[in-house]
Each structure stands twice: as C-alpha cells, then as structure tokens.
Amino acid sequence: MSVATQAAARPAEQYRVTRSRRNVAWTGAGALIVVVVLAFFPYVVYSGTTAILVQGFIVLTLASMWNLLAGYAGLVSVGQQAFVGLGAYFVLILALHGTSPFAALPVAAIGCGVAALPLWWLVSRLRSGYFAIATWVLAATIMLVIERFSSIGGGSGMPLPGFAGLSSTLLTAYTYWAALAVTVVALLGIYLLLRSRLGLVLTAIRDDEVAARSSGARVGLARLLVFVVAGAGCGAAGAVLAISQLQVQPSADFSIQWTAEMAFAVIIGGLGTIEGPILGTILYMVLQQTLASFNAWYLIILGLVAIVVALFARRGLWGLVDSRLNLRLFPVGYWLRLDGERPKGRLALPRRR
C-alpha cells in the first residue's frame, strides 16, 4: 500500500506533521562552516581569487533572485538588469553626497525594492511573454533615463568615489566581505521566505497556479512581494558590482548579459530549487574561467546547454541529483510522522508537467 492509503488507515490522532528538523540542523551547521571558511579567505588567498569569488557571489545572488521569480512565482523577467544598474547608481549617488559606498549598500537594496513597486504596477497586467519583454523595455528605458544625467556620468559612466583612505588590501577585503554578506543574507532570506506562509503560496503557484488561486491564495500579492524582494536582491548585487568595479557604467551595469548569466545559471543548476542556483553558479564560474579567453563562446555554450537542460532536464542538474539521492540541503517541506516512528516517506504529490 502507498503512504497515502496506509496513512488513511490509521486514526488521525496518531499522526503529527513536522518540519524536517534533523536535516536543517545538519545543513545549518554545514552552511555556517562554509561561511566562516569563506570569511577567512581575504587573509589567506590572493586578491585575484577574491575578485573571482566576488563575481561569483554577485552571480549567485542574482541567480537566487531569478530563481525566486521564475521558479517559484512563475515570472520570467528578462529585465532584472534594471535593478542591477539601479543598485549601482544608488550607491554612486549616495557616494557623491559623502556616504561611504559600503554604508550605501543596504540603502541601495531598499531603494531598489521600493522602485520595484511602480515598475510592478506597470507590467503586472501583462501575460507571461509580454511581461518578459516589458521588463526588458523597462530596463532599457531606465538606462536611457540615467544616461541623460551627466552629473552621474551620462552615457560613459564615472568612477565611484568614497574609497579615499582605504588601502587596496583593505578595500579588497571589505569588498569581498560585503559580497559575501549580501549573498548570505540573500540566500538566508530566500530560505526563510520559502519556509514561511508566503513560501507555501509560492510553491502552490509553482505547482499549479489555477488550483492555488481557487483555494484562496493571494497570488497577485505573493507575486508582488516576490518582485519587490527580487528587485532589492538584484539591487544589492548591483551595489556590490559598483563597489567591486570602483565605477559605474551604464552599458555594463544595465546589460542584458546579467539576465543571461543569472537565468542560465539557474536553469542549468535547477529551476525551482534553492540548491539549484548554487550549483548553477559554480558551474557557470568554472565555465567562464576555462573559456575566459573565448569571450562570446562561453555565452554561446551556456545558452545551448541551458536550452538543452530546459527541454530535457527541467529541474536542472540539482534535479537529477535530488531525484537520485532524495537529498534536500535546504528543506522546506513537511514530514508525516506516526508518533514515535521515523518518517515513512515524503508526502510528495505527483508533479504536474
């Protein structure tokens, strides 16, 4: 008999529904160790390596946000580069007024979250395909608007002030820690979000939107919140970008390439899972480092791999691992337990295509 019939055969009082606490403890400990180890890097590795890692953290943050949008809220946005650029420019504007760029970072993130609200209002009524292009148009428009103001560098950008007095080692270290902090906060935030009630709504939307709507879930509100969070997250990544580049440049900061990188990392790693973006970013960085000299090639290959994965391995590489090993590093599900017994099996409902 399956789990369901077995469960139905016993009286209800004998069962408890719990979160997967044991798994979380292990993962939490593991994650903490990883973070602590990473935090020590500036002391032990060359600045070249930390620079690569900073880039990786930026992509990881972006990828996690895109995963939240597309994998959980069903929103395919190809305009997140708008927030990357906005985050960078928020830092610039604050730095021009005397704030330290590092202090400006959280403000930039919040600013981008706020900016996401009117943008959402503009595009939220469009259906998926048109929604996607509309986000692209928004990004292009925002870039054009920013380029008009020569006080913030116009079309060619300008260097980021506010680093006077910092030695280059210290600057590298602070940049690295800022990037690490942003990534940790972003991943932690997403994890907590998905474990919350909002997360339940999102997973329901991911699995079957019509059913979610008809069971009363506030789909529109959930999507709005996700869009705002993703805006803030991408903005934070953009702020880190500006700091790590020591400059802002419209064509680079608002480039569609950011969307390509975050989307492909997520798809190859695993859409709709928290672990997927991590795996995808690692793969992406490896690919980028090995193909660094063949600039356009790595995007071509990345694109082709993403297409193949999207068609044939929808849950990406993590999905393949997950289905074999039944492993969840960041568990957000529930277990059905008989009192005193170990969990019998995952109450996983059949996934709809």
Partner: protein, 291 residues
C-alpha cells in the same frame, strides 16, 4: 517646418516597425507565446542577405526573393522542432528556450561577424535618393518604399487570414486547438505555417532595416524586439492593423523626441509605450476576438 518633416519621418518609420511587429503579434495570437529571439531572426535575415549579395552580386531586391523563402522554411523547421518541444513543456520553458536562442544567435553573430555594424548597401538611386515637398520637407524614397511594403504585407496577411484555407486553420487553432484536432487539423503543422509567415515578415523587416540603417549583432534585441513589442502594445494586442498604428505612434514619438533633444529619440518612444501601458494597457485599438 522641421516638425512636419519629423512627423512624416515618424509615420513612415512606423511601417518598418509594423513589419517587425506583425509577426510577433501573429505568433502570440496563435500560440500564446512570445519568441524572444524574434528580433534576432530579423538580423539573421539581414546578414544572410548581405552574404548572398556579397557572394552572388545580385541586386538588393533580388536578395529579398532568396532570403524571405529561406527564412520561411527556417521558421517552419525551427517551430516544428525546437519551439514545439518547448511549447509542449509550458510557457515558462518556451520563454527560457527562446531567450537562450536569442543569446546564442547574438553571440554567434558576434563571434563570427564581429560587433561591426553592416548595412545592406544598394548603390541604387532608389535607396539613397529622396524627394522634396516644399523647401523644408525631405523624404527618402526608401522609407516610402518600406512603408508601402509594410501596408502590402498587412493587406496580404489580412487576406491570408480571412480568406485562405490555412488562414482559417490558423484562426481556428488560435481559438481552440483541441477542437481543431477533432476537425482533422494537426496543430503542430498549423503552428509551423504561422511561424513560417512570421519569419517571412520579420525577414522582410530585417532586410529593410539593413537598407535603411545598419545591422549589428545586438540590433535584434536592442532595437527590433523592443520596438516590435512597443508597437504591438501601443496598437493593441490581437489587432493586425494595430501594429501599423502602434508603429506609427512609436515612430512619431521618436522623431518628436529627437527634435526636442537629439539623444532622446529612443527614450521618447519608450516613454510613450510606458504611458500607454499605464493608461490603456489594451492598446489603442481594443482587442478583437482572435488575431
């Protein structure tokens, strides 16, 4: 006056935008999905035309005769293979796959043709010449030709959809593809025909753009896709002639923007788009049933 000149320019450019937009609108009407690589395909057509002209030295207009059917066949094949597989897996996957296609095409072009922009030089007086109305207004013949072609294409599309057998099938499949199956129609084949038509129109647009301006690998997205989309939204989702109206409004907005401040051309167009999106999201021509 310079303003009148600008407006006329804008109206005529609208024809070019309509050529880009009608294919996008057709595909969305039939398959309910957007091909994010739509603009890049126009650029591909332009590059093929350049290649054909370079190799065979045929006059520019002859390249159209070669490239458009090639693109139509390419459209049918791509639809039946890649796009259909993506469609079977859902809208999300389709967007991701077409986005991937767009990136691959752009970077492929970048890799093999460099980032230099190219034009489809014609060397014909038709292409470079212009005529004047009064002393202030100068209109390029090419623009008039492109506008005429756009109107002809839209008329042809309208006739095709309303009178021909495949046009009827396309509309039927757009309404209810299961019911169409019950009537014996293979909707995958009908999708393929629609894609072939869309690719043909976008190829015309790409060649026209290459003659009027210059093409580079990123033109597909920077310019063509975004403009096509803006034209569709402004004109009205689901309306064929709406794409012409939307294109015209976009073109005029851009030219007026350029009059105010030369670097505001693109911005003015996008701002009009955003205003329409905010105020009248269904577009200027409200949606008719079907495409």
């Amino acid at each position: 006056m310079a303003w009148v000149n600008a407006i006329i320019q804008g109206v005529l450019t609208g024809g070019l935008y309509a050529l880009f937009a009608c294919g996008l609108s057709l595909i969305f009407g039939v398959m309910k999905v957007v091909n994010l690589a739509h603009g890049d395909l126009a650029v591909v057509a332009g590059y093929i035309a350049i290649g054909v002209i370079t190799v065979t030295h045929v006059p520019v207009l002859w390249s159209v005769v070669i490239v458009v059917p090639v693109m139509a066949v390419l459209g049918y094949v791509l639809q039946r293979t890649l796009i259909q597989s993506a469609l079977d897996r859902g809208v999300l996957i389709t967007l991701i796959v077409t986005f991937g296609l767009s990136i691959v095409i752009e970077n492929g072009l970048l890799q093999f043709f460099t980032a230099n922009s190219r034009g489809i030089g014609a060397g014909m007086s038709l292409v470079t010449g212009s005529f004047s109305i009064g002393s202030q207004i100068q209109i390029a013949w090419l623009l008039v030709l492109i506008f005429a072609v756009a109107v002809a294409v839209l008329l042809g599309l309208q006739y095709f959809l309303s009178r021909s057998r495949y046009g009827r099938l396309i509309r039927a499949v757009a309404d209810d593809k299961e019911a169409a199956q019950l009537a014996g129609a293979d909707y995958r084949h009908v999708f393929g025909i629609a894609a072939a038509v869309a690719f043909a129109t976008v190829a015309l647009g790409g060649i026209a753009f290459g003659m009027y301006s210059d093409l580079d690998p990123t033109t597909g997205t920077d310019t063509i896709l975004l403009f096509a989309f803006a034209a569709v939204v402004i004109g009205g989702l689901g309306s064929l002639w709406g794409t012409l109206l939307g294109g015209v409004v976009l073109g005029v907005a851009q030219q007026i923007g350029a009059q105010i401040n030369i670097s505001d051309e693109l911005l003015a167009g996008f701002i009009v788009f955003l205003v329409v999106l905010a105020v009248r999201p269904q577009g200027l021509i409200s949606r008719r049933a079907g495409s």
